[in-house]
Amino acid sequence: MSTTETSTTAAPTELQKGHIGQSIPRKEDKRLVQGQGIFFDDVRRHGMGYVHFVRSPHAHAKILSIDVSAALELDGVYGTLTGDEVAIQTDPFFEMSTPPGANIKDYALAVGRVRFMGEPVAAVVARTRELARDAAELVEVEYEPLDVLVDARESVKDETVMHDDAGSNVVWSGVFDWGDWEAAKAEADHIVKIDELHFHRFSSTPLECSGALVEYEKASGQWTLHCNHQMPGVGAIWMAPSLRTGIDKLRFITRDIGGGFGNKICLHPYYVTLCLLARKLNRPVNWTEWRTDQHTANAHGNERWFHDVEVAVKSDGTMLGFNVKALDDCGAFPRYEPLGCIIWAQVTAGCYGWRNIRVDFTQVTTNKSPVSPNRGYSRMQHLWLTERIIDIVATELDLDRVEIRKRNYVKTEQMPYETPNGCVYDSGDYARCLDIALDLIGYDTIEERRAEAAARGKLLGFGIGSTLDSGTNNFGQSQMLNPELQFSGNNEAATVKLDIFGELVVTLGTVPQGQGHETTASQVVADIVGCSPDQVNVRQGHDTFFNSNAGFSGTYASQFAVTGLGAVKGAADALRAEMIQLAAAVLQCEEGQIELADGFARIKDGPAEAALPFMALGAIVNANNAFLPPDFNPTLNHRFVYRPYFGPVDVEKKMGKLTLTYSTQIHACVLEVDRETGVVEIVDYAAVDDCGVRIHPQIVEGQVHGATAHAIGAALHEEFIYDEDGQLLTSNFYDYHVPHALDVPALKTSAIESPSPFTPLGSKGMGEGGGGGIHCIGSAIQDALKPVGKPIVYDSCNPYHRVWSMLQDPERTRANVEVVPA
């Protein structure tokens, strides 16, 4: 196998658009509609035991004792594991923060203290799932409850400290100061002040919960995890040192994954427990997380407060900048954090041209479930802030919400546009997307509809959500949090080979969870080597032992269309070159005379017999190669690692290219509020997406639909709500209401294509959607309620009771804002 490791910064090659750009049938579908997909819980092993976790009923308590003896006596129980064993056999997970966050000790099971409801304190393995749960009930744990922190605004005071090793609840804090805020303030005609805004806690709750079947091989000391981790490379970086083993002793195998959305990135504490159990009991162990467990103790999205917001505005609506204190709540342990303290900076300016931005950012722990990246991770929270700012400024200064956006949007002629913090927006036309979205919701008739609705006792409003989906991270931004971290850049790998019978075989470094990678990768390969996508076999799923992978491999952060397909393209280009070389040698012509098309390498305009089917090429190299000259060694097997170029970041000024591409989503909606009940009904919804060149438009549209549904759910209903004792009150789909089929309106979508000048295919990562619907629905609610005392939407979640409260007491929300002449 030849390996080509290349940095790719050159302008994109011209690709013939054959299969690329077509919505061909997805390769994944046939098995999935027949119930033949292979999800982790479908894998069985002889003698496997089922794991059930003993979980803390307290949000914060000392563990005084754990007694597993009664559980062990139950017939059919194979064994147990407790925090004490974990503390002896493993090291705490690596923390990314600087002190105090760096000093937090995070183990696979609670050691000495529990810090959130549902935190695993012990695990039991038994012959059946039911027995494992029976046994877990027999484990006796004695607790001494401690004071509970559920509000980040309390945590930050450090009156109670959750992690004694850290000595503070603050995980990380720092100031970001770009442009010249003081000068902007001086130049402004108005300063609009907002005391407090709150971005709520929710998550995408993939329908398949987490889990794994873990096997341990005594002879080699190797673990095999049949699992649904969506970023196994990073999972292994956490797990291997903790288990005091090498990374190559951890083999992750994923096949089909039932949705991820970032929520399956921080599974390492659970997986380490499973590894320890598989080794201790010398038998395969299965853990299937149940929904209530997932809601209670896995992967919430970051909750964030914004305080003392000040916005500098000119009389004509030109926005000069803003100043804000952000307080992020990461739950009981940082895990993937404090990366969220920097990831938002990829979209510091949102869609707008303001040049002076100051953000004082602090992240704290609370006695709630640890967070994990969640669709739109960290950027969504910040983009919600920018959209709230625009709408509140428009309301307070009586400016038109469409006009103020268009005035301040970064213009298409400014692209590529460098933001105040050194990021480069690659391409886009925000104003045009907005026009299309407004057309789709019938913006020109909005006032008539408002009047018509009022006659029915309904308050009608329209809203806009302008967002960016930044993709292809530069992990160098982590050094702005902690200069000692040895992470920067990005990479992804793929291999493409031509097999003996003429089949193109592709392996990916990515770990798909429904994004159709098998299909889109086959489109790219087919166009490059000249065959049908049917001739391309993209291996399902991912196996870290056999799939090509690089340090940042995985499926996360809106990047497959750039990194994953960039790697596929690089490998396919190398294969193509070699196929041409081989065909020229066999057909005894110049390489320039060879064309690859229809599954043949042939002489252009040559006789019919001057054509080699791919099978012949594959057979020659693999099985019939004696006649090839000694100095010509084609492999027809190519690995390529795609590496986007970012250059170094400025750690002092916190500036640099933090991400490679910026997709645009402009959402617009019309909704009606029932004045008597606060019930909100969306009556019209449009989403316009620009992700550059679309490889498979139907898949792109599907992502837009999905991201929109997530946002609708989050904007109206989905919230992880805790009581003052740290008990989660929305632990199931009754109380945590995700959208049902009747809740999602018929979505109107449209797309434009502004190709990225920075990527191999002109494509951009997309799929997360930046929370466009959250911004858009909040905007529309504020508009709808305007006639009833102009309340201000101050929370990202607006269930009926909150809307009703705003109707009852608009002044309470208005006390939150103030316009001060500058």
Binding site: E130, A132, T677, L729, L742, H801
Partner: protein
Amino acid sequence: MLLREVEYARPSSVDEAIRLLAANEGARALAGGQTLVNVMKARAASPDVLVDLNSLDELREISVSGETLQLGAMATYTRIMASSEVDVSRPILAEVAAQIADVQVRNRGTIGGNICSNDPTNHLPPLLVALGASMTIRGADGERTVAANEFFLGVYMTAVGEGELLLSVSVPAAANAADGFASVTIGRDGTCIANAAASLAGGAARVVLGCVDAVPILLEPAGTDEESIRQAVAAASLEPPSDVHASAEYRRHLAGVCAVRAVQQATERGR
């Protein structure tokens, strides 16, 4: 998921079912299971013995005799929705049954299970009180009939005692009855935050509120106009529970809105 150990019996007659319920301490009747199995999955309840009623076809019957529509306790929501007897004698029952949960739940869930579980957010308890239904219960000592407004005793508690079985629900037949039902749910079809049922006859209204107390609250307002309804709700001095979906204050307000809307719907139907 993962229930505690439980014994299971599947009687083939009502008498056998009653004998099984009486003979086994900690036995519970298993109707559609759409509440009970869920509660057992959470291990919030763990009966020792389940007496499965699903073989008792005689409890599934829906019939009309004279002025009475009789619904067997094991009549599923789907069957109630499709029943021509219900359609001609008290169509509101089918309409409200169609609002319960989803197709799959309606295919298994039964009227008897719904009212015996008496979850305060259920649809049928307030409706049946509004319609003046009565429940027929059989035990070792024979049958008795209990009026709907005496049937519901507390959260998950009804007049059906240990060793007894609910056989059927009787509702006065009235094809053109002025009945109405209104609710506010989480999303278009989630759990009820507030609901109300109304039935008007001879210028008088029976209005029943769900979700605000352990049992349905029956109001008999002075008239059917909005003002009378609101006064009756106010006079009830409701003290509804607070939860993540509604504060007591909001729920009290919604109870009033639902009551007025249920009566409005009933008034329109009665025209």
